[in-house]
Structure formats: structure tokens, C-alpha cells
Symmetry: D3
Subunit: 133 residues, 6 copies
């Protein structure tokens, strides 16, 4: 159970029920994820969050679905959020990466997370010229 009581589907009415239906249809599942059932305690927040998620994930931009799911998984890994890692690992698989691909994502995170702290810890100064053109 979350720290607060969730708004179960049976109890959802009006705007919340409408967004619940929208979420299920958009993701293609027949249940409302716990994250949204917690958000629903505050309908205005649920609506604004869902709209922002849609604006960023659903629109036709420069990044494809797989790349966005990889970013979501990378952020979740950095935050150590178990719930989110599980969800976005599923998303990355859905959009095409297999076990080897997932291992490769984790390997890239390993390399740069390590180097980041080397540079921060020794206060490495910006290079006078750019690495990349």
C-alpha cells in the first residue's frame, strides 16, 4: 500500500474517471496503475500531470518512443526508484530492446556515472576547445 489511500477505479467519478479511461486506453492496459490512483487524490494535479506526460511522450517530436523510454529508465536508475525502474524496463522492452540491449543501457550509465564523479571530485576544468565540433 502507498502511504496514502488510493482512489480505486470503482470510486472514480467525473474528471478522474475520464482520465482513468484515457490512461488505460493510451497505455493499452485494463487497469489503472497505482501511481495515477494516488495522484487522483488531487484531481487537478492528476489532470495536469497526465497532460504533461502526454505532451512530452505522445507528441511527434525528434525522439522516438524507445529513446524516450531509455531516458525514463536512465533517470529512474539514477534516482534508484524501484517502482519506476520496473515500469520503464518494461517500456524499453516493449519498444524493442532485449536483455542485451538493457545490459548495454546499464553499461553506458555505469561508464558515464563513474566519469562524472571523477571530473567533479577533481574539479576538472572545461577544455578550451569543444570535444565535438
Amino acid at each position: 500500500m502507498a502511504s496514502v489511500e488510493m482512489i480505486e477505479e470503482e470510486a472514480a467519478t467525473g474528471k478522474v474517471k475520464e482520465i482513468y479511461d484515457n490512461i488505460k486506453e493510451s497505455i493499452g492496459i485494463d487497469f489503472v496503475p497505482n501511481m495515477y490512483k494516488v495522484m487522483a487524490r488531487n484531481p487537478a494535479y492528476l489532470e495536469a500531470s497526465w497532460n504533461k506526460i502526454q505532451a512530452v511522450m505522445g507528441r511527434t517530436g525528434k525522439l522516438d518512443d524507445l529513446t524516450k523510454a531509455i531516458i525514463a529508465l536512465t533517470v529512474s536508475t539514477m534516482n534508484g526508484c524501484a517502482y519506476c525502474i520496473t515500469v520503464y524496463t518494461g517500456a524499453v522492452r516493449k519498444y524493442g530492446l532485449d536483455d542485451d540491449g538493457l545490459t548495454e543501457v546499464a553499461a553506458v550509465i555505469d561508464v558515464f556515472n563513474g566519469l562524472n564523479k571523477f571530473n567533479t571530485g577533481l574539479d576538472v576544468e572545461m577544455d578550451e576547445q569543444p570535444w565535438f565540433g
Copy 2:
């Protein structure tokens, strides 16, 4: 200046000089980035780090160069490493994203970084079924 004295190119000999040449050729630049000039204080570490970077970034795997650069930028953003953000922003541009694409990467990070902490803070429980098949 970094916290420690760097090994400048003129002072590099043997294994370190060889790796310096390799780095410049691989990235396609005519200078050795400060990060590597600091690492060079410890030649065994420089060599192992460079080999690991090559193994992860250079091999033919499931992820293309742009995706790997986006992961590197996402990790650097999460760590708040200014040096690294600058370098990997350049890499992301080199591999094809423009200002709109960079803004989209940051927007995806924004969304999931926010949601991660919502789930962590309210201890949202794993859903009984997966979101993605």
C-alpha cells in the same frame, strides 16, 4: 585548473602518449581533453578507463551513437556535472539533435525525474500487473 596537476601532452611518454594519440584519433580532435590528462597521473587507470569507454561506446551493439550520447547527457544532468553536460551536449548535437531535440531530452528528464520522487515519497506500491505486457 583541476585539483591536481595534469600530464600535458608534451610530457606524455610510452603508454600514456600512445593512449593520448588513440584518444585524439578516436574523437577526431587535435588536443587531449583535460579529463584524460588528469587520469594520466595513473597510467594503469587511464588505460583501463579508456578501454572500458571504448568497449562500451565503440562496439557494435544494440544502441546507436546518438542514443548512447543521450544516455551520457541524461546521467550528467542527473549528477549536475557541468563539465560533462557541456561535453555530452556537444556529442548529442554531433550525432544529430538540434536545439529542439535537446529541449525534448530535457523535457523527458523533467517529467520522469518528477514522477520518480512522487512515487518514492508516497511509497507507491508495485502494480500487480505490468504496464507493458
Copy 3:
């Protein structure tokens, strides 16, 4: 300058111009902050972000403006985001805290940030009874 070109006020039209006006009026300033001018590269994202900010900060909930600004400052401190610390330090002052109050916020962060890692590092187990009824 940010990593990407901002949409200056003079160049804003349609939906973006409307949101810019809304932002200036809501905060009570006569310029558009850089954060929003960067977001404006992606109008759908700008709109959804601004709506979410309004839904969370502007509605009549359980938390007053000062408490919300203190949370924003605490989050920014944890992330080490200099831009954000500056902005929300200003917000906290506007809503009533002086130098002593700001120092007190930082002192509370100090105490619990320290204890958090003590508990994590030694894997302290949940107490069988709650601390607070």
C-alpha cells in the same frame, strides 16, 4: 546563455505569447524568466508545464505559499541547482522568511540529510512500532 537558443519575448506569438503574458502577470514581474524562454522551444511542453505548475502552486490546498516555496527550496538544495536555489530563496523571502528563517531551513536540511545516510549506510531496520502514533 543556455545550451539552446531561447525564444525571446519579441519573437513570441500565439500560444507562447499568451503564456508569457500569463507568467508575467502570475509572478508579478515584467520579464519572462529564462527557464520559460527555453521551454518555449516546445510550445506544447511549455503549456503543459505551466499548467502543472499552476495546478500545484496556485490552487487552494492544504499548504500555504511559504510552505510550498520551502519545499521547492529544499528540493533545489538537494539537487544542487544554483539557478533554482536563487529563485526559490527569493520566493521564500517573499513569503515571509528572513535570514534567520532561511538559516533554519538549511539547518533542518543539514540534520535530516545527515541522518538519512546514517540509516541507509548501516541498513537500519524499520521499527516495529511507529515513532508517531
Copy 4:
């Protein structure tokens, strides 16, 4: 069990026993939380920690108990410390927030944690004028 053996109440003597009694009385519970039973391995550290907690949380300053508990919960959320999130969620409830209030705290954290990384990732420059007076 924690990684190290705790000093149980029965085994506490002298200064440690005195602080244990003080902790129970101050919080208003009839057991010593595990965090303090681990700290007690090092009595000087336990004493200094407890005194600092008292100095910051117990004194009459600018912030009321609820606000301090909200800061503690926000810090714990940012750190992803499960033990601490549980404890300070309880504290926030004790000082007056219900499920809706807790959801609101998490919503504010969501918004600013997201924006923080947007600003960091795109290196958004400080505005020339302050947002707030």
C-alpha cells in the same frame, strides 16, 4: 537487523541510558527507535547527534513543527531513504497533514524536482532580474 549490533535498552547504562530516556520522553513513545540504538555504539556521537536534533527541532524559531517535518520528509524523499520516509510521513501526519496534504507535498516535490533538472541539463542562465522582489 541493521549492519551492526544495536545497543538494546536493557544493555544501556550511564550517559546512553539517560539519552534513551530523554528520547522516549521527547518523542512521547515507550521504545527507543533503532536509529538511536545503532548510534549508541558510539556514545559521544549519539549525544552530539541528539543535541543537534534537539537544537534544530526543539527550539522556538521561525518554523513550526509541521514545516520542519515537511522539510525532513522532502529531504528523505530526495534521498530515497525508506526508513526515514516512513518516520517523517508519520511526523507530518502527527502535525496535521492528512492524505490530501501528503499528496500535495509529493506533488510540489514532483514539480520542482523535474524543473531543477530541466534547468541543469540545458544550463539555463540566471535571470538578470530576480523573480521575486
Copy 5:
């Protein structure tokens, strides 16, 4: 189980088998830890990672084994990585710290993790003179 299928010892051949043997001998155990069995999905990455670990942990430098294990535990504590905290707590014990020593490590982390955020949150300016000569 990890998110991806591990390469079990029975299934390891060639380079992977060789590294598995090397790992077991170096650590002095008769099983291959899960971390390496996941890495083994990508043999080039496994090899480069193991070589880097050896270069940093195995060579004769300025830091002894205990100090390196303490750094590993501190980093793991900061990241809140449960798997890693367990492993490096074991390493720190192996190299000589007992329960009191582990508590002391956690106490030092507590103090400086707290002070770090105090300085960041209030934007404390660098001192004109160094603290330490």
C-alpha cells in the same frame, strides 16, 4: 532475479569462463557474484569492467585495501544501492573494521552529508584563504 537473464557459470565459455575463474580466485570465493553474471551478457564490457576494477583496486598505490573499501561503501551509501552496501560492508569488515568502525564511517558520512547541503542551500562562498595550509 535481475531484470535480465544472467550467464550462469555452467553456461560460461571462452573469455567469460576465464574471467569468471579470475574473479573467483581474486576475491577468494567459489561462486561468481550476480553482478558479474549480468555483465557477462556483454563479454567485452565484462572484461573491460573487470580490468578497470583490477587496475584501481589491485595495484600498489597510495591507498590500502581498507581505505578503498571505505570509499566504496561511502559511495554506495550515497547512492542508496542496497546490493552494493551489503557487499562493501563485508569488504570493510574483511579489511579490519568491526561494528564500532562501521558506525564511525556512517557517523562521518552523516556529518559531512549534512554540512554539504547547508553550504549548497545557502550558497556559502569560498573562503578567501584555505582552511588547510
Copy 6:
């Protein structure tokens, strides 16, 4: 300048002045660092913080001064606190590490910070047996 006005040495009286003198003598410098001059806005907090620092850093425990300074530097690196990195880099040098030693600390942080996130991202499960006896 910090976000809040500091209590300069000339303005310090009573308890604050006494602690200022104690700080200067303990560190062996003839100025009060900015961190403490900010803390001094809240004398009870300054006193409790200084006492806790003394209890953890000054007592005769299992860890020597260099090891404690290395932990402080590691924590500061993980937090990306520039002020703190500068101070504790100085401390580490004072207690005996030179440029090569500092590079070695950063190399160990690099390795384990990378591995931590690999394990977190792929949800690597605890090994059935301990790595270290």
C-alpha cells in the same frame, strides 16, 4: 556572498565568539570559515553542529584523520558541493595524500559509482553467499 548575512568575527560576542575562537584554534587558522559565520546566525545550531563535528572528527576512534578526510571528500564529491570539495581536498592533502593519492581516491569513486548504478538499473539480486567471508 552567501544567501544570508554572515556574523563577522568583529560582531561575534558571548557563546558565538567563544566557538569562533575554538574553531580557529582547532583547525589552526586565523580566520573563521564562511560556513561557520553563516551558522552563527543561529547560535544554538552553531554550537550543536560544532560539538557534533568535534565528537566525530576529534575523538580517538578506529579511523585516522586521513581516512575521515577521504570520507568527507567522497561525500562532497557525490553531492557535487564545490565549497566542500575544495575544503576537504585541502584536508586530504594536509593529512598526507599528494596529487597521485587524490587521483586514486577519484578513481575508486569512479569505479564504484559506476557499478552501483549498473546494479540498481538492472535490479541485480543479492548473492546467496557473501563475497567476503
